[in-house]
Point group: D2
Chain length 351, copies 4
């Protein structure tokens, strides 16, 4: 595969580029006869779309999805479900000045090395625009997981060095940075706006919590549930690391501390993050990812052009100074697909 | 797949259990007519084998590999290469006391939930023993990578809270914890021996560096090179997190700091860890993984048995108080396979 | 996979239903920087489209394809190439009378058993309409094969009991049944028109010849080149059998007759059909497929409805009395994809 | 993959070569907690083994299988089940005279073109010996299918031009050619013995019937059940064609004849061979394959050597003059695996 397909029994294939005509996704393995409509999917699209607040890009993509196949009279048919989004507000001209320069932090250089070819209209397949298709597919997975009583929630825990100190689930969708702490959210917004004014950007950390999941999901050895979730998350452009449960803190813990002991009520702690030996234990699956600072900044930087000459570059255009708020629904979408896929794999194993 | 297969064009399928008759691996996609013998593979096996020093388990597995197919007159045939290792020194009886109890930190509970079945002889497919087959396959990948001028080196950077403060490549194989700093190594050994005496264990951090790699490897979107490496590493039982380049530090960095600017000499920094947009840049690929403390400790812990009754458990038997030294060759093996696989995928794309 | 993806290194995923809004295909693994435009693909679409002659359905699908991604400035980018065709001239109402009856020879019954669900608008994913997407993808594969000097040609050799007695390559595209013998073609047309007038249909045989192919393509054991071609052909709805080289005649041949002996000029005969041990020999690959009579006929037939009651059914609507002429480009498309995929797999193996 | 893996949810990977130390198979996706022992598998091995009668090779392979993993206390564990068979009675020296010549009808030439390499000990991966591993895996699939009430039976219907005229299921295992007609069997044996005396060989036709199968198995579009069965059968070295139901006769049938009409009792006929639109209908699945004459004959033939010089070749050694009797259990094994795999895929879809 050229990498555009994800999943085994619940499977998506995405297509489209940031400045092409449309992006879309084909979803295979959808359970038939499930109620599904465009509005349900649109709710998730709207959480990812740009221009939601002062801290996101002002670029307008009217992310209105259309279902082209796989749904009949409001119910899934079990055959491939295809969803398309037309791209709008394309301004390739905005890239004229930098079309032959490699933008620092972007995939321009590595793509040219891979394909021997420069599609200078934005970032092609490496564009965050591609994640819109993932969110659409994730919404379908979420619909299937609802029947299983599984919930998947992500939220910002750190931005630009400011950390959440409380966890308030109700706060998450009530602040533009999707932080789990309203007080911290205010400081984060202030920080982002200051950096945006300076033409700079910042990174952060997003946590994801999967609740209500059955024990026994995941495959031994290579397709462990945490291995699959790690691949899913690192496949999101801006994410540079992931940790489960106690994560990197485990490096300085003792076995007698890290082991989750059990009693009649179940696990007393959850340092393992809900996964042992790659298989879910039924406890909440908890992981954190690090989101790098947005690469597109308007501060002048040093780079080279396609002829290898040193050049100064300033990325104009409209970009998110911090991608955390909009990456939250993408993380949830990928997590939903991994979990739904493994429910189906387990059904096949036991049948 | 039930998760025992890894890779696309360079592909391995492992089999066997910790206390069964043998473990082994089938490797597909090996370039034909390459010189290869058992001794070359055995070198890597000996780096993973137990009983290497005072800080590893005293359990004796005489990890002598045998090539059953795929090599003829000292050269690869291009057909599946199969390697087998007989298990020796099996002591299932050592598990009699705990055969119906769930060992904290182990996969016993999640496996029973998955399979509705308890194979109480050690950890079955979840056993570290399975990684011996990976190391054998990784040695074959390493042989192919040598022709491409790629080197893959891993080393311990932290154990039990003690960190390396220097990087001395020559030190790595000259100390039993495979640390990149001999002074730190002495403290680590001391720490491990103290914990072992107390019946406890500790975790650590291992770094991996891939040098001489071509730019342009990796697939856009889902099969990004960092996503594939993340899956490969999280598929190793004791590993609970991974970060590339600046990793989690990126959460508190600015775009103007994190972006790797370029000049005529190439990248001035490597915060990206050698990967942009999921594609290699040609710079060294650098990542770190966190290794959890060994779950098997002889300090009494609280758990439940298969009937749900609370029980006290003490894991006797011979275990590594810290798995870092022996996980180093496993990390290298997995990294070698991912890189070799992507060299082959790129060849297919461009052909 | 829910079966909508085909291929490994040259890979397509199709979507869409006969009476939905559109059908389309995503193609992965396309070699970058190859000249490609919509007109080139349209040529193949026009060979498959209905309404070409008196012997094909009068249904009008304006099969105008559009490339949504993967081509930039007239050259392939190497990223997923997506192609869409809008459906037009949809008349679901034409199906009102039979919406709850199972049409003999159609997939209505088996689909209901599979999905527990009836999409009565035509045949959904089982519709011949889906093959339009295959032909578009096949045209891309054909473009890549041209660079390798490979040609793929199919033609009708038998329809309704009338057989071609000569092989005239120039005749194929000069008669509406795409027969390789103009005299036989006239009789075939006569036969088809007579059956059409009676409301009946007929089957036939189509042969495919792949020339200029390299020796050494195909994988041993399960992914033999003939095994992959067989799967590709049987995945076309109306095809019920395939034979290579001497095919079923081999049942009554001796080893001394069937073996293709060699001399300095190469193989003296080609009973093997260009494949030995599943690997191409460099000789022409030759296979024949049997095409069943079109299931949709206007002669009354006995069937049951969804409640199990016996009913009489008469399929109105516009259908091909013999599908051979329009299946020829579909067979070529599938063959092109299999061969291109194996060129890429071989490149990966040897690299 | 280098083609040694087959299946999705019930999946096997085989290894080993005709004259190597051993052959074997790893089976993934086996339902856990099913009773299974070596004796059950051995029954099928013994049906395939050579030296069963005067019409099979006198070569002795003591096909005693051993289960290395995946079974514990007589029940499947759900983890990979690995089975190994040691090769015995290897006589590579028998190949000395022809080690640099291409045997007509064999894969020698195409393998050298693929791998640039000659493993002259028998046929390597192309050897019929590899099918022993398939039969072992097929026995495991058969065990799972028994729980579902599915039976898979194959039998010879034609050898050397002699056809069965009756169908007697009880006859099949009571005659050495596994024909479904004892009278025809006697003539077939006579024919084979005569040809063997002349140093020649002959082909035949084998039919397979799958009964008790659920309706709704198979995937639309590319992974149709007939497409998967066709690939499975063509992956067996000596098989050169396959047809379902009416098969090639459909070329001269009318739609009104070929369509299987339905009444309250179900399908009145089975020209479709139990599959419509690639999905099982619940009727018996019936297909026939053509088996080519054994390539190894002792009549002198013309060939070339690796330097391209014309040579005469006479294949000494012990070979089956007709492979039909021993290919029957291989066909059943492959069919069992395809059907079991699709039961599991369907379970995943509907879950």
């Amino acid at each position: 595969m050229s990498g555009s397909t994800f999943g085994e029994r619940f499977k998506m294939t995405t297509f489209g580029e940031s400045h092409g005509e449309a992006v879309g996704v084909i979803i295979e393995g959808v359970t038939p006869d499930i109620e599904l409509n465009e509005e349900y999917i649109q709710i998730q699209m709207d959480r990812r779309k740009p221009g939601q607040s002062s801290v996101t890009t002002s670029r307008k993509e009217y992310d209105r999805i259309r279902i082209l196949s796989g749904v009949f009279e409001g119910r899934t048919t079990g055959t491939p479900l295809s969803i398309i989004l037309n791209n709008t507000d394309m301004r390739p001209s905005a890239y004229d000045d930098i079309k032959f320069m490699f933008r620092p932090g972007h995939a321009d250089f590595s793509y040219v090395k891979k394909y021997g070819f420069r599609d200078y209209r934005g970032s092609g397949r490496a564009s965050g625009r591609e994640t819109a298709a993932r969110v659409a597919a994730g919404a379908v997975a979420r619909k299937l997981l609802e029947r299983r009583g599984v919930s998947v929630v992500s939220y910002t825990t750190e931005i630009g060095g400011i950390r959440c100190t409380t966890f308030d689930p109700d706060a998450i969708e009530r602040n533009p940075v999707r932080a789990c702490d309203l007080a911290a959210a205010d400081k984060m917004i202030e920080r982002i706006e200051k950096l945006a004014a300076e033409g700079d950007s910042c990174g952060g950390i997003v946590e994801c919590r999967i609740s209500g999941i059955a024990a026994g999901l995941g495959e031994p050895v290579f397709d462990k549930l945490d291995a699959e979730l790690a691949k899913a998350m690192l496949s999101i452009g801006a994410i540079k690391g992931i940790e489960f449960g106690a994560g990197f803190r485990a490096a300085s813990m003792l076995g007698s501390e890290h082991n989750d002991q059990m009693d009649e009520m179940g696990f007393r702690t959850n340092h393992a993050g809900g996964i042992l030996g790659g298989i879910s234990t039924g406890a909440d699956i908890v992981f954190r990812v690090v989101v790098k600072p947005t690469s597109s900044i308007s501060i002048p930087q040093q780079t080279i052009d396609m002829d290898g000459n040193e050049r100064n570059i300033t990325t104009v255009g409209r970009h998110d100074p911090c991608i955390c708020p909009r990456i939250v629904p993408v993380i949830e979408a990928m997590a939903c697909m991994v979990i739904e896929d493994h429910y189906k794999r387990q059904a096949a194993l036991l049948y």
